[in-house]
Symmetry: D2
Subunit: 450 residues, 4 copies
């Protein structure tokens, strides 16, 4: 029995399986375990969850799913492991180099690191109190999932090991750092993939070079000094992707619409009992705050959109209006504000209410830093460069560019409101005085003293 | 009022609007009409319809929608028109050059040429008797759509004009040929976009060069002889994309699963009257054969998938099994057959039935040429090259490569069946004799005489 | 001593050396032998010999030298060897798989295959009777070169072994086929590199995929059937590069000018004994037909050009005129002719003579097939694909495109003459009747019956 | 006559001429003037001058010449002009927009801005006191050049106008800024072209986007705020190219060898009168300090290399040794030093002298900032961004990255010396004590206190 399990851990495919990938050209699979994980229902579900949520409504090319990203993270991890095995194999315990018995756990963790992501994760979690990281752990360790069944065939403890890599408690820090650190397989793949699909030019960096200079060292991962500029370029690219793509104000505006739509749906359907076309069957457990893993794994972007399509005709003005805004892509408008202009917001909300919009559902504020954000903040464990004499130095101390970015810690604050308040529709001059008043508060995209 | 309408046709945006596009870098919009069309509910729906249907289940990067493709076709058409206006403007009636009063109708037709496409079009049409080309006409000409309302603001006849470009009856043949011919904006965009997203290398060709050598001539469109190799390369790329991507046997196998799944759904739900989670509300009009345009415009890939997810648990073995195969990506296997081996199919179907699978739902045959296919067939109106002395010559007469491809007219015939018949699952040795018998019929992916 | 030599053959660099390469991203060097070969004076000389001779006068980006190409061929060979070692190592003698003791001889042969190329090779050889293949053999085996000294340190026979790989007499056919066959490291690099530098789009193919499906088999090299389309695409790309780049008529016209210039120089300088600025010191041994290897290795493109620059002012009208045409890029014009129009050539030469140009130096004919050309001619050892049942099949039998190209065996014949005959310069109407007569023979770039 | 001249300025080619370019895809030429300039002997000479001098000895792909770069700068200028004409044409005098009568002077200045560059410019100028900028002016304005003859056909003042654009005295500042400013056609082309040819990834930026947001404004050129990130990315790319490519220490080491070689040649040949193979005929006027424009225009990289090849055998040990080092690529080694370690240099020079090397010819120091360098130094006229309210703001005030780079003003100081001092050759243990002493001064590539 034990033999069988060992066998499975090392079982190679008779013929290497390749997935054509637009970012990495090919993704190579050799382990039977990896192929079996890909073929589980939980992993296939990732095909139906967009990587970038509402961002595809601004960058129309960004329609890629978490499926391709997960394969991509796996592939980068595979290349790192291949390089470490070839160039830096551990020969004596404690030499701080790469222990090849860790290969499979790395590959599985890389592949599964996002397995708990759901439809429109960020907003969904906000409204329904779910947590995709916790669910990732659950999918891997619960004995009800196909994922878990595959992993258990490796060894009874293997699911827990994979899960602990992802939640960063795994003892071998190199394994953890490959998957979650400032310069890890996850971040490298999403930057390249998101840049490729949006068509934005700023997200590209020299992956091949970084893999060249990445190495295990004293139980951690670092980068050879000769690769300093490649690593620097990665940080700059990441900074630019956040500024240009991830924090795009219109994308955030669509998130606000979604947030308000799901709020209203909660208000309407949480104690709904009727059967009918508009009933969000798969959402009900969440609306009622009583869901289990199985409920969660039914959901995907298409399921939510299906309900929204139904709701466009639902006999509640706010729900149908917000559903239409979301499905037909009618983002809210927004303006920036700061500490000094913040005090005008109550007045603006009042004008909006006078114009016929319930501010609870038709206004919002957010800060780009509320979004998940990778800032380079030296001090804690960051990116370390290996000098010729064996000492390590933090990237930001040798790179003025990175140092500059590290200091920038403020996001931008925005106030969101219906576009109608700015651009009155034809035939709707009912609220003209309100509209005029509203506009006096805005100049060059910022709140200003009228 | 007339003045107003004329205005609208020529109304330019105050500030050019650009859409970042991974294939063309940017899509440029200057006409208010075009922006208004993009913002309609019918056009936004295209975001929720994959360009390549089941192909993304084989090439995981190919998750792009018909939205981006439609913008891309518009952009190529825009560049053609820009070039024609600059280099080949008509100066006297009948000179066969470009008449710039046709610009807007070209751009609208390019943008809207696929507006009638629905979820999993090919299979959906097969099962439910819809026709996306007819629906495209309807969306444009029916006064109930937002598309039509925008177009009518240009002039009362304008919707019909745009529609007639798409159905190829428009009198100006240059306009028609830009949108539908062997080398048109539609084909150029889909080849480039599908190649970009699949990551396949064969679909690329030199768009910039082709646009350079494309020109209006004697009322038609032709290509200067100096661009012969660029045009040739386009034909070769197209041929390779069909061989490698569009006719991929696993993609066809997933189409077969979908086809059988929808067949079974029709059997079960066509006179279904219950309300409940599994009820495919939006599909009912189609299952009952009584639908209108509005019903059609509700549907998208996500809606269908939502029903399939529900059906995984439906108490009909065939429906739930086929839904699981589709959602969890368990394609049928297939073998090639030809005239000489075709006669073995009844026997194979019998073995499959003996193994417990209803052949009606678990087998199929198809030929790759049943799929929509662009073959280069000289004789009729094809690609013409302009010689120095003003005469035209068909591409295939000067290009041996194109000539070779033109002659290849046969697709490949495949027989599809459940994978289980080839690779028995663990613990399922019930049907071993049948499985052994089945395998004797297959060699090197082809049916063979056992 | 023996130990020392063995050591050298296997001596790895302490730190892998990488050369940044625009085509392959990086070229990786691990063997000390390879680094030492690169650092020889004979190899460094390749930096001063253009890869494409006069082609850069038409495609201005194509200024790359044989140095980069040689590194590129080495790198592709290195990747092939790495793949063969990993996936297809020979385990028993005669199993037809890869014998890793052959690694170094492959890498050296790949690096050195073009070491005998000289300045403007094709024309130079024609005029002076040199042969770059023979010189390659000599450089490797003569004990006067640094190359030979490096190779001898591996073993006394090693230079001869490397040389025999290049001249195709080496017993291990896999080694030979990697360097010289229809689909070898040399051809793959030059197509990609020439396409990259010219900027032409047609020369690209999927190198990564080809390396994936390439394998040793029964003592030869073949390609897995699954890679058929990648191999096909390579053949198509090669065909297009020949048609578009290598056979470009203006490039051939500049070759003609060069040929005539060197002919005239031979006439003038072969028994020249004066010292002076115009004396082509390094060319003298060749002009006199008495040169050795050392003489040959002094020459490069810049040396020849230096003489041509001097000759622009040499007091021989023909020499100075031809030197000016070459250095200042004034190509001859050309027209195509065929069997039926060939008989007009004497008359044209006569007109040209009447216009004041010596036809011996101012006219020429050539056929594109006189240039080195890789045609795919099935029958002999060509590209073989491996089927599932272990049998091999020639590419052209399964690919209609390749089959079509294989049949095309005719080049184009061109007649070259001074541009002045077509486009009389201002103020030069002396020969107008001749010019008019001349033009009557030409239509649409072809000779025609006047 | 006047009419004729006007005609020439506006004379369009019957058929647009295109040059295939690897960086811009195509370079488009419409003006007869531009084509005539390209066909001059002075412009064709640029084919024989490498863009990056000794850099190709480190980045072997960087073998491109100033010819392609000059075409590239022209092409970018052409696109800018095209965009300005279309989008921002001046309609009233003094409106600060684009005056299309300036088109031709821009295009000519762009094409000719580097026409005075010669072989190994930087070092050549240092040794011989030439100045490529002054020579550029001379080539354009001297009536002995073909360039001047072409320009004069436009109008008698035209050569001077073009020259004044290049020396920045032309009154229309927009014209000057297109060719020479922080973000001009010259810099944009060389960054992209050098990155393309070296294969380095850091030099790329989004040219298309920058051209989109570039605009004439109040008599100057600025960039719309929406393009801030594209402009920022250009500055970051430029910074990285300098750090990685232009300041590469081995490239600087080869410049040092060249400098010492030309110094020694001056010493030997300045009063040389013999005729013979080693006599550097074309260099003599420079060695003697008595040259004219015609002398300068004879020279190119190949001419200099030809002399160096001869000198490898010249009977002066230092000359022949340095020539060999240069031609066979044997760079000096170098170490960094700073103010505190600078005082050790005399001692090191002494050790080197004791080892048998004349320090005058075998050592050197330099600072990377001695090389031409584009730093972003806000304050003076830099890159300005246009805000919504029409005010301008300096890039560095809104971009933390650019601000960081602007502050970095120090280059690195290096001391160069023969490699032999570090790595004694076999059999040469004569100077072992000196070598050991030398090494004690060096640690991690820097001078250190021994």
């Amino acid at each position: 029995m034990e033999a069988y399990l060992l066998d499975y851990a090392h079982q190679q495919l008779k013929r290497e399986k390749v997935f054509r990938d637009p970012v990495h050209n090919y993704v190579y699979v050799n382990y039977q375990v990896i192929l079996d994980l890909i073929n589980t229902t939980e992993f296939q579900r990732l095909r139906r969850v967009h990587q970038l949520g509402t961002t595809s409504l601004i960058f129309h090319g960004a329609e890629h799913s978490r499926f391709g990203h997960s394969l991509g993270v796996y592939e980068i991890a595979r290349r790192i492991v291949e390089s470490f095995e070839k160039n830096f194999p551990s020969t004596t315990k404690g030499d701080g180099l790469w222990d090849s018995s860790q290969d499979l756990v790395v590959l599985c963790a890389a592949l599964l690191h996002d397995i708990g992501h759901g439809a429109y994760s960020h907003t969904f979690e906000h409204i329904f109190g779910t947590n995709h990281e916790q669910i990732t752990q659950e999918i891997i360790t619960s004995d009800k999932t196909e994922i878990n069944q595959v992993l258990r065939r490796v060894s009874p403890d293997f699911p827990q090991e994979v899960a602990s890599v992802i939640n960063k408690t795994y003892p071998n820090r190199q394994v953890v750092e490959m998957i979650s650190s400032q310069l890890d397989a996850d971040r490298m793949d999403y930057l390249l993939r998101d840049a490729y699909n949006t068509g934005v030019k700023y997200g590209t960096f020299d992956l091949a070079r970084i893999l060249e200079v990445m190495r295990p060292y004293k139980g951690h991962i670092c980068f050879e000094m000769s690769g300093m500029h490649a690593v620097e370029d990665y940080i700059v690219s990441r900074f630019q992707m956040y500024q240009q793509v991830y924090f795009h104000p219109v994308s955030r505006a669509m998130e606000v619409v979604l947030n308000r739509l799901l709020s209203r749906a909660t208000y309407i359907f949480s104690d709904h009992t009727q059967n009918g076309p508009s009933t969000p069957y798969m959402l009900l457990p969440f609306l009622r705050g009583d869901f289990d893993l199985d409920d969660y794994l039914q959901l995907d972007d298409g399921v939510l959109n299906t309900y929204f399509i139904h709701w466009k005709r639902y006999p509640d003005d706010i729900l149908s209006n917000l559903a239409t805004r979301f499905i037909d892509r009618k983002p809210f408008k927004s303006v920036r504000f700061d500490q000094s202009t913040k005090r005008q917001l109550p007045q603006l909300r009042k004008i909006i209410e006078q114009s016929g919009f319930n501010p609870k559902y038709y206004t919002a504020t957010d800060n780009s830093f509320d979004l998940p954000y990778d800032a380079y903040r030296p001090g804690k464990k960051q990116i370390e460069l290996l000098q010729d004499d064996g000492s390590l130095v933090d990237l930001s101390t040798v790179s003025p560019i990175v140092s500059a970015i590290s200091d920038k810690q403020t996001g931008d604050n925005r106030f969101f409101f219906p576009r109608e308040v700015l651009q009155p529709q034809e035939n709707v001059d009912l609220f003209e005085p309100e509209y005029d008043e509203f506009k006096r508060h805005i100049r060059n995209g910022k709140l200003t003293n009228p």
